[in-house]
């Protein structure tokens, strides 16, 4: 790439050849050791950056990056993704009525149904996400507001949550489990999908709620205090977070194993998003067999139990259906980035070539051959 050479310099020419000390052994001389290291003569690679030496690097980078970029771009484009906003800010939106409520503790759940069409069938496993916009889950005080050791099943922390959880540490002088703002603001909309057959029947699509959290989170990081059998007893003496309707041990009425701190929806929520616009994995639609697509083309209904108020912060709620590839979800950016960087490199390489032709030889050639 660069003009390079390993040259153990012959700077040592005049001295280093001399063998050892003058008066060997007789007097302990202070004479420094004549080693390559101490005399700073370590063999070294000394690249010199000039147009001529550098331009191959540019071309090589360009030539490598552009194909990679194209590959990534194509991969990303092959991913199918469907997104629907159900916030209901529009008057016309089916969820408009539900969205008007600000409160967390509406006794009456508000439901709405959102119709949508899939133009293309989704062939492989489909991941269903809920997406929030303008939700600063990365706010510093928000991020801190949790007690990991409580979530890890520490009984002491259960009864006496960390101070970080303030002001969601206690309610009614009982410790909150799980404490903190993150837990308190758990996303509690329920989304259900129905496929409308061409003949008009409404078939529910099976949504798998297991396996949406990281394995390590589910099995290591989050643990219920005590055994799972009697969660009610375990969480005795604690309060549910203020915004919650159900205590933590009743999060999933269907699956007993999915309750308490190891509820996967809860775990997913507790992994705070990096950016204010984010999505979180909600359910997985498993491919049934090879013959039929997971989600065939056609009309669908999404039934939403609308609990989560976002209007206070001008947030948006979305539901996203997406297949994934080896590189994750749909994101053409990386491919574009590779192509751009590769092109720029190539272009700069050309510029350097011109420079090299025009000026390079001047410095390098006449007397100092490069």
């Amino acid at each position: 790439m660069m003009a390079s050479s390993y040259n153990a310099k012959e700077e040592d020419g005049h001295h280093s050849g001399a063998p050892g000390h003058g008066v060997a052994g007789t007097v302990k001389s202070k004479k420094p050791d004549n080693t390559a290291f101490k005399q700073q003569r370590l063999p070294a690679w000394q690249p010199i950056l000039t147009a001529g030496t550098v331009l191959p690097a540019f071309f090589v980078i360009g030539l490598i990056f552009i194909p990679i970029g194209i590959g990534l771009f194509v991969t990303s484009n092959n991913i199918k993704e469907f997104e629907i906003d159900y916030t209901g800010l529009d008057m016309s939106s089916p969820c408009y009525n539900c969205s008007q409520s600000f409160s967390w503790n509406n006794t009456k759940p508000c439901t709405c149904s959102v119709h949508f069409n899939l133009d293309q069938p989704f062939e492989s496993n489909v991941f269903m996400y809920y997406g929030l916009s303008n939700f600063y889950q990365n706010h510093r005080r928000y991020v801190k507001s949790r007690d990991d050791s409580q979530l890890n099943g520490n009984k002491k922390s259960l009864q006496d949550p960390s101070k970080e959880c303030e002001p969601y540490r206690t309610s009614d002088s009982k410790p909150i489990a799980p404490c903190g703002a993150i837990a308190n603001s758990l996303f509690n909309d329920t989304l259900d999908l129905f496929y409308i057959d061409p003949n008009g029947t409404k078939t529910p699509i099976p949504l798998v709620k297991k396996g949406i959290a990281w394995w390590t989170d589910k099995h290591v990081k989050f643990r219920n205090p005590g055994v799972n059998d009697n969660l009610t007893a375990v969480f005795q003496g604690t309060n549910k977070p203020v915004n919650w309707r159900k205590p933590v041990y009743e999060l999933d009425p269907e699956d007993h194993e999915n309750n308490g701190f190891i509820n996967e929806d809860f775990i997913v929520w507790m992994r705070t998003a990096a950016l204010p616009t984010f999505r979180k994995l909600y359910r997985i639609i498993q491919k049934k067999n090879n013959m039929t697509p997971t989600l065939p083309r056609g009309e669908y209904i999404m039934e939403v139990t609308y609990n989560y108020p976002v209007r206070s912060f001008e947030g948006r709620k979305r539901m996203i259906l997406s297949t994934i590839s080896w590189m994750g979800g749909k994101n053409p950016f990386l491919g574009i980035a590779y192509i751009t960087v590769g092109s720029v490199c190539f272009f700069l390489g050309v510029v350097l070539l011109i420079i090299h032709h025009k000026y390079g030889n001047r410095n390098n050639s006449p007397d100092i051959p490069n």
Binding site: W45, A51, S312
Partner: protein, 1513 residues
């Protein structure tokens, strides 16, 4: 030198007095010292000395217990530390904390502990050296044992009696009570204190003078009262009170100071007055002061900017947060957490809290680890400097020592060097070089060769052996020579550079130290011709003596030669001694005291019989001692028998002196019968000469080489051994000592052969030549005399041009009447009560007239090895060198010429003024002169200015970026080929406030400045003036105590540690064994240290800014809440661990240019002088680059993860990784030298990062409170996206920088880059290119093809290019090709370009070049060959000059894009053909100098003469 100190004392005096007055008020109690012997039994309580400090010294700062608090306290003096502690503490405040509080302490604790460990280590080293010193042995009188017993130094207490043996070092300040010396003197060498090597006499306290038997401490019962301990070396007052109540004064002459060495005195006894820390030496030894380097000052400015950037960033974030909060108004979103109290925070309050939080989060921007990294790097740099073999001096077994650890990089930025002369530039060893006698020059070629042998590096060992052999075989095997032989057998050939000298030095050490007696000074190889004549003269005289012929019949040249050597031998105050016996020493050190006291005495002494008796007595040291003591006690009673004899012979003596035959014959009878045989070889060999000044010794040694040896000196007679004549005793009638006004000394003796009264005078040529008797005009003798005078004067000029110290030797024969007449008045003068000095002076003047010139000598104050070369190369490096010396003007100028500080063709402005007004006028005048001459330079001068060897020197502050034409206008002052010589008195006026600006204006436009006769204070004032007014970096180098103040004032003080004292070394920041090492120290290590550190600092700023900016960008996406996507651990340890090692390695090891190239191209040093590695704009460029890179590193992951389920840390960790890669690769782009260490450190950093993060992420699922990165990294490593990001982001981030570097390397390479490219060449090619000098290289680089649109011509490359600067062809490899007329020369370049276009591979060309081009040693010849055409084609030469200038300027500026118009501005209009010839000659001289290694003798003697002649052309 002595005078120096005297003046210093005078100037200091007032200061000290003031201080003392203050002190006296407080504590006017004096110190009373009793003998410890009296109190020995009653230990402790009633010993009055118990309050005084004991002799144990402790220079450590800390004790075991006090270390922690004291060290912490000191560290908190550094503002940065306080700041970081503040931040760490801030983190404990819950409202604002960002990290786990304990974790936030880690960096501060780490930094503090690293510094503490460093301090501890340093303190431990001090402790060890203290211990070593404290455990040295000395003899202390012990009362119970009634003898002197060995004790450690630390056990010595005030009041103890100490016995000192020869060559022992004094453990404390001791009052001298007894000495084995017959005169009750003790000689000490104070080199460790003031750097003066000549022996100082100290006298036994007066009341103990008469003590004949040995001093018995147990009988001592006096009480000493003296002043309190103070640091004035030259002052001691007190008195001693004896039991009898008698009081005797004590003076500084009675005090032996700690650290001095006892010399020439077998034994001395004294009582300790001050001990340990109260000794004058220790009080004078204040530790090194803390210096802050220029780079660090510059860095601190940028740290300040960093603080501002930090505050701005925090402020922006705070405002943003306030606004963000504000936009939600009352609708509090669920993610905006209430305060712990559950209350709502107002946006404003929240913003304020956030501001503090941001300071914590962004703390990394202020590079906490920068300070500690810099210290580490500096320590490593110091280590490497220490380890440099080239800076190790075998002779003294000493190496360079960095005493100041924190200013290594300053070495690379020096602009002015202030150097002491004696002992720094010169070895302070006077060596006889050549002489002229009676108008005939004896060039002493063999001697020159011998000296060259000591000097030249590559002289073959064998040659050395043979020379040494001849020397030692000459007539005796002296002790040191035998030692030499032994050593030689031990030594291998590895010595080469220092070998022979080293042996010489060791030999002299082995043979017991005496001042001025290294073999180099002693073994003079006689000139064979002269030796023959001496022998001839001797034998003829011998013959005549036997045949009782008057000696006046001797041929005049032979008699002159004879007299010449006699004069050399006796016209001095040299004392003869032999090393192993008690000194046969003579009191005659107090001069101007004539032994002849009365007329009677005079007459009485004119008796031949006395000659006889004293002649025989001379061999008996007993008698000598006795007579010596007699002399001291002041009485002069001759043995009665002698005096009666004298009286009897009175009449005869009166006339006998005139005829002198009878008595003469008588006188000769006791002469050794075997005068022909070898004159007692062993005895002679062991003779040692101790002289007050080294040149005296040199002359005596020179005479000895001609077998005229001084064998004994008594107060009233000098014994000389002459060839064929044996020992002769000259009756010493008077010694008229040297004084600075007369600049000569004389002895009046009675010649034993002719019995005439003869005056031998020796002195500076300027005075002696005026005192020569004008030769009579008519007769042939007169003509001959005139001729001799004329010739001698010529030779003297030649010597002076050679840099030799010249002395003229003259003689005068007095008739008895004349003598009697003079003596009468002289005795009057001696006995005069008032104005004695003046009268004696006049008396001397009366005597020293009408002299007969015998000859002249040239003595070399030998320059240290490589001094001229060092000065030349330092000069090329753009350093201005000033020499500040206490020496007299003539000597200084001579040396300046010798060390090429002044060049013969240079004009010299000499400023000698007697008054302030005169000085002002002089300065004004010289300023006008300079302006008139140079500021609007006439064409010829401009051309001339460019003719010399150091082309670059003409532009003093070398321009940096703009074109040279522009910057040379901008540069306020040009340095001209002018030398300025100013003496101390004038300097005092010039340093006055009113004149200092003018003085500086004059001085800075001169190429060399020489300040003579300057006091230490003046030296420091000059340095201070230059430093403060010109705002330049100054380096002071010196070796003696008189340089201490200067060393302390300068930015960097360098002490020469070689043979002289430790005082300068103690005060210095660096100590070097020899001056020449300065070259490597500055040019190589200075450059390296500077460029390494500068680059490292810049990199640091970049790194931190880049890293912190990532977090800053994130604030826009987290509601400015102070949240960080980078885990706290990474944030805190990124600087300390992950990115720390590679930069340390690079900062320590990176070499931009190899040491060889740096030394061969001193111009590269200007890089540092102009601070080109670290300019203020570079900081901002780096900041911009940092922000760009962080944007890339932030937004590529941002978009890659936009709207995905990624969580905070899973997103932040890739960013951290990317940032790390980018930062490391950035370092890679900036690293110039990749050793395995670099690879290792980078690999290690990456590995460490992943290892730590993997462990950290796996360690605890519920800890690390604010963020919990459990299993993040592990998961990331399984994601392809992570790797894809890791590839594209660093590339995109580094693209601009890499591209810029490549363009810079091609379009406008800096000098350093050019140097690096030179490095890449095969050694052979490079050597050849470099030997063309920097000018040539510059020319080659800078020539724009566009400037020479000539059609391609297959002109030989080197020759064509060389032609550009008019000298290149001298080295042209293709000699057979005739040089084209220069007008076409540029076309060669164009042609070259064509040739080389095809050669893209860097190595093809280089290798073919070496293969095909026959570089030869006799390269200079073709230049000569081509000279005549050049002379004819003056215009062509002009063109070449023109080109060279152009190239020169572009070389300096390193700006390639010089328009032709600019070059015209600089172009010299046609220079005359003659001048061009001169130019060529100069150029040619250089290769000659390069080859002089092979034939040093001729060069040494002829080189300067050549230049002299050329300039006369």
């Amino acid at each position: 030198m002595a005078l120096d100190v005297g003046e210093a004392e005078a100037t200091k005096g007032s200061k000290v007095k003031k201080q003392r007055k203050k002190k006296n008020k407080k504590e006017n109690k004096a110190r009373t010292v009793h003998s410890n012997i009296l109190y020995d039994n009653a230990k402790g309580e009633d010993n009055p000395n118990r309050h005084y400090a004991n002799n144990k010294i402790k220079t450590t700062k800390y004790t075991f217990l006090s270390f922690l608090p004291k060290n912490l306290f000191e560290q908190f003096h550094r503002f940065a530390n306080v700041y970081f502690v503040f931040i760490a503490l801030l983190n404990f405040v819950p409202v604002v904390n960002a990290f786990q509080p304990e974790l936030a302490l880690a960096p501060v604790v780490f930094i503090l502990s690293v510094t503490a460990i460093k301090d501890l280590w340093e303190d431990y080293r001090r402790h060890r050296s203290d211990k070593e010193i404290n455990h040295m042995d000395c003899l202390v009188y012990s009362r119970p044992e009634r003898r002197y017993v060995e004790k450690f130094w630390k056990e010595v207490r005030v009041g103890d009696f100490i016995r000192l043996r020869c060559n022992e070092i004094l453990p404390a300040d001791v009052l001298l009570l007894s000495s084995s010396d017959p005169d009750r003197l003790c000689h000490i060498e104070t080199a460790t204190l003031d750097g003066e090597t000549n022996l100082k006499q100290r006298q036994v306290v007066r009341s103990f003078l008469d003590l004949d038997c040995d001093f018995d401490p147990s009988k001592y019962n006096s009480v000493i009262e003296c002043e309190k301990p103070n640091n004035d070396l030259n002052r001691f007052r007190g008195y001693i009170v004896h039991r009898s109540g008698r009081r005797d004064g004590l003076y500084k002459d009675n005090l032996l100071l700690r650290g001095c060495t006892v010399r020439n005195t077998e034994e001395a006894v004294g009582i300790v007055i001050y001990a340990g820390h109260e000794t004058k030496a220790m009080l004078n030894n204040n530790g090194p002061r803390y210096k802050r380097s220029k780079l660090e000052r510059q860095m601190n400015v940028d740290v300040f900017w960093c603080v501002i950037i930090l505050l701005i960033m925090c402020l922006l974030a705070a405002i943003g947060h306030g606004l963000w909060m504000f936009q939600y108004g009352d609708k509090r979103p669920v993610f905006d957490v209430l305060s712990p109290e559950g209350t709502d925070l107002s946006p404003a309050l929240s913003a304020i809290y956030l501001f503090l939080t941001m300071i914590i989060v962004f703390q990394v921007l202020i590079p906490i680890s920068l300070f500690v990294s810099i210290e580490i790097v500096k320590i490593c740099q110091v280590f490497f400097i220490h380890q440099d073999v080239d800076l190790y001096d075998e002779e003294t077994d000493s190496q360079l020592q960095c005493r100041a650890l924190n200013i290594t990089e300053d070495l690379g930025q020096m602009q002015y060097i202030f150097s002491d002369k004696t002992g720094t530039l010169t070895e302070n060893k006077m060596v006889f070089r050549r002489c002229t006698v009676a108008g005939v020059e004896y060039s002493h070629d063999a001697n020159a060769r011998r000296l060259a042998m000591y000097q030249e590096l590559d002289s073959e060992e064998e040659e050395c052996v043979s020379h040494g052999g001849t020397l030692s075989r000459r007539d005796s095997v002296t002790s040191h020579q035998s030692a030499k032989v032994v050593l030689r057998s031990q030594s291998t050939k590895s010595h080469r550079r220092t070998g022979s000298r080293a042996e010489a030095k060791r030999a002299s050490i082995l043979s017991k130290h005496t001042a001025f007696s290294s073999p180099m000074e002693k073994d003079i190889t006689p000139d064979p011709q002269l030796l023959d004549k001496v022998n001839e003269g001797g034998s003829q005289m011998d013959f005549m003596r036997f045949h009782s012929q008057p000696l006046s019949q001797l041929p005049s040249d032979l008699s002159d030669i004879n007299d010449f050597f006699i004069a050399l031998t006796i016209c001095n105050t040299v004392v003869v001694s032999s090393p192993n016996q008690p000194r046969q020493k003579v009191r005659m050190r107090f001069e101007l005291k004539s032994p002849v006291k009365t007329i009677e005495d005079f007459i009485k002494r004119f008796t031949p019989s006395r000659l006889t008796s004293s002649n025989s007595s001379s061999s008996s040291s007993l008698l000598a001692e006795r007579s010596a003591r007699r002399a001291v006690s002041g009485a002069m009673p001759s043995p009665s028998s002698e005096s009666t004899l004298t009286k009897l012979d009175e009449g005869e003596g009166g006339e006998g002196g005139g005829g002198g035959e009878g008595p003469d014959a008588n006188a000769f009878s006791p002469a050794p019968p075997s005068y022909d045989a070898k004159p007692a070889p062993i005895e002679e060999g062991e003779l040692r000469y101790e002289a007050e000044s080294p040149d005296e010794a040199a002359l005596v040694y020179a005479a000895r080489a001609y077998k005229c040896s001084l064998v004994g000196r008594l107060p009233d007679q000098v014994t000389v051994e002459l060839p064929h004549l044996g020992k002769l005793s000259f009756e010493l009638l008077h010694t008229l000592g040297f004084d600075a006004t007369r600049k000569r000394m004389s002895v009046v003796v009675r010649h034993p052969l002719t019995n005439q009264i003869t005056v031998y005078t020796k002195g500076a040529d300027s005075v002696i030549m005026d005192l020569i008797r004008p030769p009579s005009t008519d007769d042939s003798k007169g003509k001959r005399q005139r001729k001799i005078l004329y010739k001698t004067q010529n030779y003297l000029n030649l010597y002076a041009a050679d840099g030799l110290r010249t002395l003229c030797i003259a003689k005068k024969t007095l008739t008895k009447e004349e003598y009697a007449a003079w003596l009468r008045r002289h005795l009057e003068a001696e006995t005069a009560l008032q104005g004695r000095e003046e009268l004696l002076f006049d008396s001397a003047l009366r005597l020293e007239t009408n002299l007969h010139l015998l000859g002249a000598t040239g003595i070399e104050d030998r320059l240290q090895d490589g001094v001229p070369e060092t000065i030349a190369s330092l000069r090329k490096a753009g350093l201005q060198i000033w020499v500040l010396t206490g020496d007299k003007q003539e000597t200084a100028v001579n040396i300046a010429y010798a060390c090429k500080l002044l060049e013969p063709e240079e004009e010299i402005i000499t400023l000698n003024a007697d008054s302030q007004e005169a000085c002002a006028a002089l300065l004004e005048e010289s300023l006008h002169y300079i302006q008139a001459k140079f500021l609007c330079p006439s064409p010829e001068q401009a051309a001339g200015a460019f003719q010399h060897d150091f082309p670059l020197f003409d532009l003093s502050p070398p321009p940096s970026s703009s074109s040279s034409a522009a910057s040379s206008q901008a540069a306020p002052v040009l340095v001209h080929r002018l030398g300025l010589v100013i003496d101390g008195r004038t300097l005092a006026y010039a340093l006055d406030c009113s004149l200092e600006d003018k003085f500086l204006a004059v001085a800075r436009s001169c190429r060399s400045v020489l300040c003579c006769r300057s006091t230490p204070l003046q030296k420091s004032m000059v340095v201070q003036l230059v430093r403060n007014k010109l705002k330049v970096m100054t380096l002071a180098i010196g070796d003696g105590a008189n340089d201490v103040s200067m060393i302390q004032v300068a930015d960097v003080g360098v002490g020469i540690s070689g043979q002289e004292g430790m005082q300068a070394v103690m005060a210095s920041d660096f100590s070097l064994p020899r001056f020449q090492y300065l070259q490597k120290l500055l040019l190589v290590h200075g450059h390296w240290c500077y460029s390494r550190l500068a680059n490292m600092i810049l990199y640091f700023f970049y790194k931190n800014a880049m890293f912190v900016a990532l977090v800053f960008w994130y604030q826009f996406y987290c509601g400015f809440s102070g949240s960080a996507m980078i885990d706290q651990w990474y944030l805190i340890f990124f600087n300390l661990m992950f990115s720390a090692f590679p930069q340390l390695v690079t900062g320590t090891l990176d070499k931009d240019v190899s040491s060889q190239t740096l030394q061969e191209l001193p111009q590269l040093y200007m890089n540092g002088q102009n601070s080109e590695e670290y300019k203020p704009y570079m900081f901002w460029m780096n900041m911009i680059d940092a922000f760009y890179q962080s944007l890339i590193c932030f937004f590529i992951p941002y978009f890659a993860y936009a709207d995905s389920e990624v969580d905070l840390l899973t997103w932040g960790t890739p960013i951290t990784t990317l940032a790390l890669f980018t930062i490391l690769l950035h370092l890679g782009v900036e690293t110039k030298t990749w050793t395995w260490m670099n690879w290792l450190s980078i690999g290690f950093s990456v590995a460490l990062f992943f290892a730590v993060s993997l462990c950290y992420n796996a360690s605890c699922p519920s800890c690390y409170s604010p963020s919990n990165p459990y299993w993040t990294m592990q998961r990331l490593l399984g994601e392809p996206l992570f790797y894809l990001l890791c590839v594209v982001t660093p590339v995109a981030a580094l693209l601009p920088r890499y591209f810029y570097r490549a363009c810079q390397g091609s379009l406008f390479p800096s000098q350093v880059q050019v140097g690096r490219q030179l490095d890449r060449l095969p050694a052979e090619t490079r050597r050849n290119i470099l030997s063309l000098s920097g000018l040539a290289v510059g020319a080659r680089y800078a020539l724009r093809p566009s400037l020479f649109p000539f059609p391609g011509d297959s002109f030989p490359k080197d020759c064509g290019l060389g032609g550009q600067d008019g000298l290149g062809c001298s080295k042209s490899p293709l000699e057979e090709r005739p040089l084209r007329p220069q007008g076409k020369a540029p076309s060669g370049l164009a042609g070259l370009r064509d040739n080389d276009l095809s050669l893209t591979d860097p190595f093809t060309l280089a290798s073919t070049e070496t293969d095909t081009l026959p570089y030869t040693k006799e390269a200079p010849r073709p230049a000569e060959h081509h000279r005549s055409p050049a002379k004819h084609a003056a215009s062509d030469v002009d063109a070449s000059l023109d080109l060279s200038r152009l190239s020169l300027s572009s070389w300096i500026t390193s700006t390639p894009l010089l328009s032709p118009a600019e070059s015209v501005q600089l172009t010299a209009p046609p220079a005359g053909g003659r001048q061009s010839a001169t130019y060529r000659r100069d150029c040619e001289g250089r290769p000659g100098a390069d080859h002089a290694v092979l034939e040093p003798g001729p060069r040494a003697s002829h080189g300067p003469r050549d230049s002299l002649q050329t300039s006369l052309l």
